[in-house]
């Protein structure tokens, strides 16, 4: 351990840009993924503006559009936003790209690559990842993939527009933006695979002396499970994406059925392909992917709760067991996205059962985290507020999954706004809120200074109120039957009774947007001017708090030795209410 695999870099490029240091790569991922979250969110703001007022009213005057509408019309031009009203093609592009960006360029890189890279080696007491160069390659392949992804907006006909799910055959006959989407996905998936191998090897082989698996912090466990999910599920989508690419550019017909009509005649390449094959390949990744979005968030919440309740986490083994079980079961639930797809109907009962089963370990996780609060001394700092908010928010997301995973009620709710509300509660007020909490929690370790608490609480309040105003009304719209992916729901009269909620959603989105301003300011201001943090500003027990803030190249001044479990808080008979893992006595 003492002789570090590579020497400390000295030049600017080697140190900050093409770095092989896990901490620099983690921060690179952090900043890049936050940028993409902002991009994806901005697209959604534009879509919500469209959905709030999809059509010109009686007072519409093409000569005088008003300040906001006029500016939007000017910015996006005649093709995309004529008179400030969104063209359906542009709506479909933004819809597909919002999903793609938020998931593959935003939340996954943030939860897995940013926090995993920065925190995991520190928590296990390693001096770096097992394969530092692979780690750097992973970031740069992701970076190139995301640039390629964004470039698709410049393609003739615009970006991908067949939904983030890219269902064939619509995606196969879509404009060239879809080809670019596929190439970018292959790159992004490759990046994830490089990262996941690294995480698995690092966790299994690079642990400090005494860091047995039973003493591993929960965050490391979830990263390990997540990495296995990525490693096993992503290659399936990668293969699926390559097949779709071949359908588009090489004249194959994996997904194009016989006699498919395009325009007024039979599509020239229509063979004996199966549109459902794509859905199976896609969801075989995309359901485990949900847990890739969620598990790191749950790990972060566990760490923050343990630290700020000042007591051992409730049911460490039950928690870890639940995470492993969730990971395993996530591979056998994918077809619950396909109850009405036309797949063999008798298979649905199997997937209803597996889906209901996976809710049990999720309930166990929530129970353990809630019970951890009992008998605690709760400190309400900013990271803790985010972690606590995760519990009811994920609760709503998880519970609303019940009528969707249960086939008889899914028949009605499938493809409605209820689904949108459900998975956003899991990913946005759920995962993303936890990831924001993680940012406040580990910021002092990354930059040696704490973020401002007052601004943090402002950010927290605005984000939570805004997000709930956005996502809760979607349950009302979905229950009334409003379908997702409609550029103008008012063209269908059955949607009108719930159209009013779209103005509430826009208001919520604007509140969420404004609430991010104190966060962005706080982040950069605190890097240089925040309150100085020592090694262990939260008085926590895990190993990342036993090295300097920020940690030097190689992380630990002396190689740490682990003597006890990760959450030894308020141990009877000891004066201090925390007992770090690396303290000899």
């Amino acid at each position: 351990m003492s002789d570090h695999g590579h020497a400390a870099p000295t030049g600017f490029w080697r140190k900050y840009i093409f770095s092989v240091d896990h901490k620099v790569i983690g921060i690179q991922y952090l900043i890049t993924s936050f940028l993409f979250l902002l991009v994806g969110f901005s697209m959604m703001l534009l879509m919500r503006y469209q959905l709030a007022w999809p059509q010109p009213g009686a007072d519409f005057d093409p000569e005088n559009l008003g300040l906001v509408r006029g500016f939007i019309a000017w910015l996006f031009g005649e093709t995309n936003m004529p008179y400030g009203y969104m063209d359906p093609t542009f709506y479909n592009q933004l819809g597909a790209m919002h999903g793609t960006i938020m998931i593959f360029l935003g939340v996954v890189p943030l939860g897995v690559a940013a926090f995993g890279n920065f925190v995991l080696p520190l928590q296990i007491g390693a001096e770096d990842m097992a394969f530092p160069r692979l780690n750097m390659a992973s970031y740069w392949v992701y970076f190139v993939g995301s640039v390629v992804m964004m470039s698709s907006f410049l393609a003739p006909g615009g970006a991908a527009q067949s939904g983030w799910t890219s269902y064939a055959p619509l995606s196969v006959v879509a404009p060239p933006g879809q080809t670019i989407w596929l190439i970018a996905m292959v790159l992004i998936i490759t990046s994830s695979l490089l990262g996941s191998i690294n995480f698995i090897v690092t966790t299994l082989n690079m642990r400090a002396k005494g860091m047995t698996l039973g003493r591993l912090p929960v965050f490391c466990w979830v990263q390990l499970v997540t990495a296995v999910l990525l490693l096993l599920a992503f290659p399936v989508l990668e293969a699926g994406a390559v097949l779709q690419l071949l359908d588009r550019v090489a004249g194959t017909s994996f997904y194009i059925p016989k006699d498919m009509i395009y325009g007024d005649s039979v599509f020239p390449r229509a063979g004996g392909g199966s549109p459902l094959l794509w859905q199976h390949l896609f969801w075989f990744l995309a359901h485990p992917e949900v847990y890739v979005l969620l598990l790191p968030a749950m790990g972060i919440v566990t760490e923050i709760i343990a630290t700020n309740t000042r007591k051992p986490i409730f049911g460490y083994k039950e928690l870890v067991g639940s995470f492993v079980l969730i990971g395993a079961l996530s591979f056998v639930v994918w077809a619950h996205h396909m109850f009405v797809s036309g797949m063999r109907t008798s298979i649905a009962n199997l997937f209803v059962t597996t889906t209901m089963t996976i809710s049990v370990p999720s309930v166990a996780v929530l129970s353990c985290l809630l019970l951890s609060l009992r008998g605690a001394q709760i400190r309400f700092n900013t990271p803790m507020l985010f972690a606590l908010a995760f519990l009811p928010m994920f609760g709503i997301g998880g519970l609303t999954g019940l009528p969707l995973g249960y086939a008889p009620t899914d028949l009605y709710l499938h493809d409605t706004y209820y689904v949108i509300g459900h998975f956003h509660y899991v990913v946005a007020p759920g995962s993303l809120v936890a990831l924001l909490g993680g940012t406040y929690y580990w910021f002092p370790k990354m930059f040696g200074r704490k973020m401002n608490e007052g601004l943090g609480k402002l950010h927290f309040t605005g984000t939570l109120i805004g997000m709930n105003l956005v996502f809760f009304p979607m349950f009302f719209q979905g229950m009334w039957g409003m379908q997702r992916r409609l550029a103008d729901p008012t063209l269908q009269w059955h949607n009108l009774p719930v159209q009013g909620w779209s103005t509430v959603i826009l208001a919520g989105a604007l509140i969420t947007a404004v609430a991010q301003i104190p966060f962005i300011f706080n982040f950069f201001w605190s890097i240089w001017s925040g309150e100085k943090a020592g090694e262990n500003p939260w008085q926590a027990t895990t190993l990342e708090w036993a090295c300097p803030s920020p940690p030097p190249h190689g992380n630990f001044v002396t190689p740490p030795v682990v003597h006890r479990g990760p959450y030894e808080y308020s141990v009877p008979g000891r004066k201090a209410d925390y007992w770090p893992q690396s303290d000899a006595a």
Partner: protein, 277 residues
């Protein structure tokens, strides 16, 4: 309809035989979900207040009850197993795995396309005319073969589906181009329509009225505008509509003859059902 943008909560009125049962399940699930959420929420709020940090306070190191924490897991599991066995499997079998027998239900073909719904009625002879993709053109949307005698009395209706109240009907659905999805909110059931295969959907509408068909699967730039209507009518009104359609297609004299032939055939003994899917 003259709906105004509003802030409705709840679910639209039900107009299908199995809808009431599905709606009670929907209600049951939501009652249980809200109950679980409230229990969690109250417990969370209590903990946040009762266990807030106090100066000089110290947390409890050991917390008993690891075994007891499995009780909620077990309750949830038992509830879900009951849901699956008592309702899930039988309802699914009734709605999706079986369709009403051909003789008892009206068979209607649906050929979906970007961005329209083409309904094909077999007409008085009860037999669908042959379709051939080679015949598809701007004037023949579904490629119906006019040379097929069975096609003569077939009635085509674009975006408007007429059905009699109180009688099951089965949609035999396929798509010309990309995937679509037939959704009528008041009917509580939906199904993707996939090119290259036939999927089915059956309903027994029980409330007379006009209901909107929407496409629930993203199908391209006109996805939003891919709408239609279901007219659930008194059987006599439905028959009258069918007669008008036949007269429009064949002329009054031929239409009467076709209807007469069908009536005499139906009363003839030993008539075999002829349908194709």
């Amino acid at each position: 309809m003259n709906e105004e943008p509003g802030f409705a909560m709840g679910i639209p009125p039900v107009a299908v035989s199995y809808g009431a049962q599905l709606d009670s399940l929907m209600t049951l699930l939501h009652v249980v979900m809200v109950a679980i959420f409230v229990i969690w929420g109250v417990y969370l709020a209590y903990c946040l207040w009762a266990y807030r940090a106090r100066p000089g306070g110290r947390a409890v190191y050991h917390t008993a009850g690891e075994r007891a924490s499995f009780i909620p897991d077990a309750l949830v599991l038992a509830f879900e197993v009951w849901l699956i066995l008592a309702f899930g499997i039988p309802i699914w079998a009734n709605l999706k795995q079986e369709v009403p027998p051909v003789g008892e239900s009206l068979q209607i073909r649906l050929v979906a396309q970007q961005f329209a719904w083409n309904f094909q009625y077999a007409g008085p002879d009860g037999t669908f005319g042959r379709r051939d993709v080679a015949l598809i053109s701007a004037s023949n949307a579904i490629g119906l073969d006019d040379k097929d005698p069975a096609a003569k009395d077939d009635v085509l209706s674009i975006n408007n589906l007429h059905v009699p109240v109180g009688k099951p009907f089965t949609l035999l659905m396929t798509s010309k181009d990309v995937i679509h999805d037939f959704q009528v909110t008041n009917f509580r059931n939906k199904q993707d329509i996939v090119p290259g295969m036939t999927t089915t959907l059956w309903f027994e509408p029980n409330v007379i009225g006009k209901y909107e068909i929407g496409c629930a699967q993203l199908c391209g730039l006109g996805h939003t505008q891919m709408v239609g209507n279901v007219f659930v009518e008194e059987p006599a009104d439905y028959e009258a509509w069918m007669k008008t359609q036949l007269e429009l297609k064949l002329g009054t004299a031929d239409a009467s003859r076709v209807l007469e032939d069908a009536r005499s055939q139906a009363s003839a003994p030993g008539r075999a059902e002829r349908t194709e899917s």
